[in-house]
């Protein structure tokens, strides 16, 4: 139990590290969703460019995804059910990474549509799958921190549990 242990410096620091991870991940999802939500048709084309599903399915995914990203970003921002939110974020990121890997493996030349409406890569521009994956793995690490140490400062969870 935490009560019995004498808190080491690291134990005292974890809530702060987790808080940074939580706010960082929140920003990632809010920005990613915000950039897409203004043009759902473009978002649909970005999903469709992965060539993994029919256009009609891509259209639905493309429309729903930005709203989910924004909602998840807001949930992380206020820090509610942090561990669950982080788990959902991790699942979403794993799906994104899998999508990029599959596009890379099939030699598609597309923009991942991660922080844009993506889709179309016209002559001259080349896809940067390696960097995209590396970045997503970084985000996954943030989610990992929260899964492991979900206690954070300035969170609704903390408020509801009567922590300071």
């Amino acid at each position: 139990m935490d009560l019995k242990q004498r808190p080491s410096r690291l134990t005292a620091a974890w809530p702060w590290i987790s808080t940074l991870a939580r706010l960082g991940l929140a920003a990632v999802f809010l920005i990613a969703g915000g950039l897409k939500v203004t043009d759902l048709a473009a978002s649909a084309r970005a999903v469709n460019a992965y060539d993994l599903m029919s256009y009609d399915t891509a259209k639905v995914i493309g429309a729903v995804q930005p709203f989910l990203e924004i909602a998840l970003g807001l949930l992380l921002l206020i820090g509610i059910a942090t561990r669950l939110s982080a788990a959902i974020a991790a699942v979403v990121l794993v799906i994104f990474i899998a999508g990029i890997v599959s596009a890379w493996a099939r030699g598609l030349q597309i923009d991942c549509g991660c922080f844009s409406k993506g889709g179309e890569l016209t002559g001259g521009r080349t896809a940067q799958y390696g960097l995209d994956i590396l970045r997503d793995v970084g985000f996954l690490a943030l989610a990992g921190i929260l899964l492991w140490k979900p206690r954070t400062k300035f969170s609704l969870d903390g408020l509801l549990l009567g922590e300071r």
Binding site: L40, R45, Y55, A63, I70, L75, A81, G119, E120, L121
Partner: protein, 248 residues
């Protein structure tokens, strides 16, 4: 049992009760916040679904230009045996490059009755005009020009006057002025101002995407996409060869 021991037992019992209470509270908070998270995500998904449905009903009512061919998505030029489909966004610099580089050769093939060119204006770069949706407006204007029989001319002036990608694009007054310069009149001006064919442009862009194309320009000769090495822009030579091969 000494007094001290009893006192310690009592505090221990108190602590256990407090811990149980805290655990119970944590359990309740975890359950309800989890329910909250799932509910919020479900609602967000439904909102996205609803917005999509609304947009779909908008494009379903789109008025298709009378002269459009290929499921109402394109404007045909020429009457040759080989079909060349060209998907372009009037905001796309590489489309402009393609028109400058290969446009004259295509015009020649049209004159020689070798090809029928089907121009598909699409609007994939709406994000690149500061929210004025220049891609959609210009594609809609091109449709209006086609209805009045001036597609080729208007297509040319639009590319000759292409605004910089990321700028606000040309405003409607300028689109109308360009139309006048190629002999388009009041019906054209009204169609531009009324955005008569703007939802058609959105719909044509959806058809483009549903055919599996992602970028502009996309050039298709008799159903087969033509690109340069590494999916780059095809040179005039590559396109000419593709047309010759398709003609058999």
């Amino acid at each position: 049992m000494s007094k001290g021991n009893r006192g310690r037992d009592r505090t221990a019992a108190k602590r256990i009760v407090e811990q149980q209470k805290a655990a119970e509270r944590r359990r309740r908070v975890t359950i309800w916040t989890s329910v909250g998270v799932v509910a919020v995500l479900l609602i967000a998904g439904l909102v996205g679904w609803r917005v999509l449905a609304n947009q779909d009903s908008g494009t379903a009512q789109a008025s298709t230009p009378s002269v459009a061919v290929d499921d109402g998505t394109a404007f045909a030029v020429g009457s040759g045996p080989v079909t060349v489909d060209i998907y372009e966004d009037f905001m796309c610099p590489i489309c402009h490059e393609f028109e400058q580089q290969t446009g004259p050769a295509i015009a020649q093939m049209v004159t020689d009755k070798k090809v029928t060119v089907r121009y598909h204006p699409v609007s994939i770069l709406d994000r690149a005009s500061n929210g004025t949706e220049y891609s959609t407006r210009s594609a809609g204007a091109a449709a209006a020009a086609a209805v009045d029989g001036k597609f080729v001319e208007y297509h040319k002036v639009l590319f000759d006057n292409q605004p910089e990608e990321g700028s606000s694009g040309l405003d409607n007054a300028k689109l109308i002025e360009l139309g006048k310069s190629v002999g388009l009149g009041d019906t054209f001006a009204q169609a531009v101002n009324d955005k008569t064919y703007d939802s058609w442009a959105t719909k044509a862009t959806e058809t483009f995407a549903s055919r599996g194309y992602n970028g502009t320009p996309t050039i298709v000769v008799n159903g087969k996409q033509v690109t340069g090495p590494n999916e780059s822009l095809p040179t005039t030579e590559i396109l000419t060869q593709a047309v010759t091969a398709a003609a058999g």
